[in-house]
Symmetry: C2
Subunit: 330 residues, 2 copies
């Protein structure tokens, strides 16, 4: 039995070629399938990674999961998936994963401010953990972030570079605390700083916060129009919101980009097919999943010394909605 085990695990030194072939042949004849559970039991590791995401249907999660899965598959790990929309169910998911003896955990959250005592504890117990997109003040934990401040700044600066000075902001929720998104706060900060750097005003009335949804963008744009602040451009900090905003502008007979230039944030291909096509800051979502998985795998192999704390940048994709390609009057 031990010989068979060595053969099936590819230990070439311990077994002669003849016995090896014999065993392999027997395995084939018997239709032998190794029992991963028993192996995990004996080895005290499972080659399974637990992945927790906040909501499966959120557009961020498919690409992240895809990225994670690509790398894990390639590295020989399996992926146990759970969704957890609040701290209680996150803790429950972690407990289940630990019971399941996962080798490591990846958590991809919305940029909500969750409490993280349980993550500290996980870390303390020595379970390899990588966290994506969470406002976490625990430097020992590997983290992958997005440069949300930079995105706010970059989007606004692009509009500034096109000559706009009255640039509004449609952004995700910043209050109340349960739904507040770090990304929304940071993007707003970026917008503010970009305008302030040019000594331009940033009045409260040029900003609308709403949910990161089509509906939210639609409502926000309507509200902004109603305020009649003579804006010539708006930075919409989410592609779903931008689609909603485009509709509201269209209904208000505001032409984009002539009457209202739009820059937004996102990754999905559909931003290229809106009317007009949206100029976006591409968010490296799938990449964040890949990187998280790689970092985790390196941890598991003991190839890491210091904790990772990466911030991924956005990339400007100029299309029609910002009006770059049009001569426009100011």
């Amino acid at each position: 039995m031990s010989t068979a085990s060595y053969v099936l695990n590819g230990d070439h030194k311990r077994v002669s070629v003849e016995t090896r072939d014999l065993i392999l042949a027997a395995a084939r004849d018997l239709n032998y399938r190794p029992n991963a559970i028993a192996r995990s039991m004996a080895r005290q590791k499972t080659a399974i990674i637990g992945v927790i995401i906040t909501e499966i249907q959120n557009p961020l999660f498919a690409p992240v999961t895809d990225g994670v899965e690509q790398i894990l598959r390639q590295e020989g790990y399996q992926l146990l998936l759970a969704s957890a929309g609040d701290v209680t169910s996150e803790i429950a998911a972690i407990e289940t994963f630990l019971a399941q003896q996962v080798d490591g955990i990846i958590i991809m959250s919305l940029s909500l401010h969750f409490s993280d005592a349980h993550l500290r504890q996980l870390q303390a117990e020595g379970i390899p953990l990588v966290v994506i997109n969470r406002d976490l003040d625990v430097p020992e934990i590997d983290q992958i972030q997005f440069d949300d401040y930079g995105s706010g700044r970059m989007g606004t600066e692009h509009l500034l570079s096109l000559g706009h000075t009255r640039i509004g902001l449609i952004c995700g929720p910043v209050a109340p605390v349960e739904v507040r998104r770090r990304s929304a706060i940071e993007r707003r900060r970026g917008w503010t700083d970009a305008l302030a750097a040019q000594a331009l005003p940033t009045p409260e009335t040029w900003v609308i916060h709403d949910e990161y949804l089509f509906e939210g963008g639609y409502r926000a744009a309507q509200a902004l129009i109603a305020r009649d602040e003579h804006l010539t451009a708006v930075f919409v900090a989410s592609d779903m919101m931008a689609v909603g905003a485009l509709k509201a502008f269209h209904e208000a007979a505001l032409r984009v980009p002539q009457d209202m230039a739009v820059v937004t944030i996102g990754d999905p291909p559909f931003t290229a097919y809106t009317i007009p096509a949206l100029t976006t800051l591409r968010m490296p979502i799938m990449e964040s999943g890949q990187i998280a998985a790689r970092v985790l795998v390196e941890s598991l192999r003991g190839q890491r010394t210091a904790p990772e704390c990466l911030t991924l940048g956005y990339e400007l994709r100029i299309r029609e909605s910002c009006g770059s390609q049009l001569p426009h009057a100011h």
Copy 2:
């Protein structure tokens, strides 16, 4: 030890209240966490379900996975996820799942015509299996389908009911065989039959097949416009394609719905925020995941006798692109 096991598994008959409390207290003190691997080993089942999807990023998959996850979580099962874009990797994923001793498998494929010898074999080995959206000719296997023929028919009939007679079709790929989608074939059949039932013509030139993508719909609409067949309406058999088509129509200065009425198929919320909002046949995607999970769980509990073969219907959502709400001239 056995007493502890009984207590922790909630067997109330075998243990006195005092010992139970003692054991529970000790478990708490020791921070005891049951080892699911060891339990699986002893019980010969894992409470893990393997889920295979074709491409994580395909818009069908997030809702399906969501539906599956909801039910499985509620029923106490874990979800092991793998993506497999072709038969070879599907077989590999199944092998891994079997090694992992999953209790059952759910496969959600694109409606490609995959070979299914390996599924028959799975079935023969007695592994509970539910397949969503695959063209499978194996009546013993539980299957969840979408009524694609019905959707083609229903969408076309809606346009007929609005007085259109020259109704084009933009549809998914039907050839070559590697990329051919059953859904495309069926929807075309529905379109043909709906028109034929009214003794209307269904010329080849009114139909364009392309990929189920924004790009595909864009190209297809351009091609259709170029043919100049004086169509007044088109059934676009995918919401992504419809978004692309809308853009092509817009660029060709064709007004939707006045010059070209559009009905499409899909579920995602974004169809309500296109310009104009798309009239769609809603595809019960998440529901298909829920149902698949329920069927599987029932199988695992031995509560099923006959194999399931469900076909889920589509539901018409009238919005702007079909022109229902407009008086229009014919």
